[in-house]
């Protein structure tokens, strides 16, 4: 058990979630588990990946919102840092709730921690309910195809699913696009082993030139775009929805490009 950082504990007390007398919200999110998680993650956020944010003022301080970001390889370090940024940088802090891969809830301990920290299995029913409850939802529409990107594919985007946009239309939720840089350098995977994945119950296990996918201490950057709104009911035809999906995808791509340009400029 990690000793909880007092500063983190204070921020957890400021989360706008309806915790009961035992410190659990109606979904089973636990104050203690959240505080332990952020005590650990804040080290990685501040010291290890030295995460910088840009445009965080674009993130609504209250009410339902969907953060839509890019994955960049290995496993979801990008997601973990995005959640941490919402907790450490916003005032009052917010708990971003990711939509986890199905295998996570089948693995002992991973099941417990994801349940207690609000990182639930990605189901449309769950996502819709959380948004109706005015929560902050974090979605990576590339899914496992996104984390499966290899080192040289890290700045690319694979196909976005359409479910998130239909849901945003149905629940009238603003979308904040997020471009994330550095995740691909942190875990420079050269191959994804499906065999090892089967052994641990995951879709794959990333393998790096130094074999074990321990993340490298590279700088990461999160760039937030202005909220995007989409009118509709969520029952529109695919062509209509795809148009919206493409506009979100291109916003994410341009946020990533801005970041890359700045990095290169900085170097030169």
């Amino acid at each position: 058990m990690i000793p909880i950082d007092p500063g983190i504990k204070e921020r957890v007390d400021h989360l706008a979630l309806p915790f009961n007398r035992y410190g659990y919200d109606p979904y089973g999110i636990s104050k203690r588990h959240v505080a332990e998680m952020f005590t650990g993650l804040s080290f990685f956020y501040r010291r290890y990946f030295r995460v910088k944010t840009h445009g965080i003022a674009n993130v609504p301080r209250a009410g339902r919102v969907m953060l839509i970001g890019n994955h960049s390889g290995g496993y979801a370090i990008d997601g973990a840092m995005l959640i941490t940024s919402m907790f450490l940088e916003l005032d009052p802090p917010r708990l971003a709730q990711g939509m986890a891969e199905k295998f996570i809830n089948r693995v002992p301990m991973a099941s417990l921690w994801s349940s207690r920290t609000g990182q639930f299995t990605g189901l449309p029913e769950t996502a819709e309910r959380l948004l109706e409850d005015d929560r902050m939802l974090m979605v990576f529409p590339e899914g496992a195809r996104g984390t499966a990107k290899l080192y040289w594919e890290r700045h690319s985007l694979v196909e976005f699913g359409t479910g998130f946009l239909r849901l945003a239309m149905k629940t009238r939720t603003p979308i904040v696009p997020v471009g994330i840089l550095g995740g691909g350098e942190a875990i420079p995977s050269v191959v994804n082993s499906k065999f090892l994945g089967r052994l641990v119950g995951a879709p794959y296990v990333p393998v790096t030139p130094y074999l074990v996918a321990v993340p490298l201490p590279v700088k990461m950057e999160l760039r937030f775009g202005e909220p995007m709104f989409f009118e509709g009911t969520g029952t529109e035809e695919d062509e209509v929805v795809l148009e919206g999906v493409e506009s979100v995808k291109s916003r994410v791509a341009s946020l990533m490009a801005d970041g890359l340009l700045e990095r290169e400029g900085g170097r030169g």
């Binding site: 009961n20 007398r21 035992y22 659990y24 919200d25 109606p26 979904y27 089973g28 636990s30 199905k102 809830n105 089948r106 693995v107 002992p108 301990m109 991973a110 099941s111 417990l112 349940s115 207690r116 639930f120 299995t121 189901l123 029913e125 769950t126 309910r129």
Partner: protein, 310 residues
């Protein structure tokens, strides 16, 4: 109103009967088991619901409302007998209710209908499918009884039918799946999992059923009380200790060394939650639970203190 209760001798049904009596209804009870300290006003019939004598009770007493609580969930009781009670019994109750002029039938079912699984959503709605038939096949007869009761909504439109899917009971009677699981000093759990458990007090169940009758409720409704809590918290707050063990060991040891003899499907229910959304029921009936989670756990552990070491 004349109200007939099947399975009236069960501790939860006794609460319902007392509550309805106190509200001024007259109560007719059917149960094979005796209810020794039943209030004298209750008209008891020690008959089997599937036998001719039960039909006679309906014929003679002509209840206006029927509350069907005579389904069994005891997992040790896995037999032809259980199927006959849950399926044959439910059919008989609805048949007699219709035939002898009842206006309202309330089927008291269970929220485990929805089953527990790694990819199930939290907060089930009434139209979610009965996944228990795959995750926990031993509950199939209870799912079937629930669905049979639902068919009454279109088969017998003149009989107003309410199907209630009620979460676990936890309170002074100490009955029900969750309470039975919590009885010992140490409660076996599966390492690495800590599902939410949704439970409510017997008195709140009685209130919910009484409100269903008052409002002559029609349709299918989830019924729940306070917010769910993780199993480990329920165990700790009731003064017990959790005994986590790896799933493989848990399955191998079931039925031995004092562990409960549970069917394999039960393991899913110790790993994953079954949580229901009861907002529609609350909205239609105005139901508000009087006992919060602390009060349920306190009343249970007062009635069933931690057993002392032998």
């Amino acid at each position: 109103m004349r109200i007939l209760l099947t399975g009236i001798a069960s501790p939860v049904a006794q609460h319902v009967a007392r509550k309805l009596l106190a509200e001024g209804h007259s109560i007719i009870g059917i149960d094979r088991r005796p209810w020794t300290d039943a209030p004298p006003e209750v008209e008891m019939h020690a008959v089997d619901i599937r036998k001719r004598a039960a039909e006679d009770v309906f014929r003679k007493s002509r209840p206006e409302a029927v509350v069907h609580m005579a389904t069994v969930t005891h997992l040790r009781f896995r037999s032809e007998e259980r199927y006959r009670i849950n399926l044959g019994g439910t059919r008989a109750v609805f048949e007699y209710a219709h035939q002898y002029g009842a206006k309202h039938a309330v089927f008291v079912g269970r929220h485990t209908y929805y089953g527990a699984g790694s990819d199930h959503p939290l907060y089930h709605h009434e139209d979610d499918p009965p996944m228990a038939v795959t995750t926990f096949p031993e509950l199939a007869d209870l799912v079937a009884a629930d669905l049979y009761a639902c068919t009454s909504l279109w088969r017998v439109p003149t009989l107003t039918t309410a199907v209630l899917r009620i979460c676990y009971v936890l309170g002074p009677t100490g009955v029900g799946t969750l309470a039975a699981f919590l009885r010992g000093r140490r409660v076996p759990v599966i390492w690495g999992y800590d599902p939410l458990y949704q439970f409510m007090h017997e008195e709140d169940i009685a209130t919910a059923i009484s409100l269903s009758i008052q409002h002559r409720l029609r349709g299918v409704y989830n019924v729940a009380g306070p917010s769910p809590l993780p199993l480990s918290v329920v165990v700790r707050e009731s003064g017990r200790k959790i005994a986590p063990m790896p799933e493989v060991a848990f399955k191998a040891l079931l039925g031995r060394f004092g562990l409960p003899n549970l069917p394999p499907g039960a393991v899913q229910h110790i790993k994953y939650p079954v949580v229901v959304d009861s907002a529609p029921f609350r909205k239609v009936t105005g139901f508000v639970h009087a006992h919060d989670e602390q009060s349920c756990i306190r009343d249970f552990s007062r009635a069933f203190p931690v057993p002392s070491k032998r």
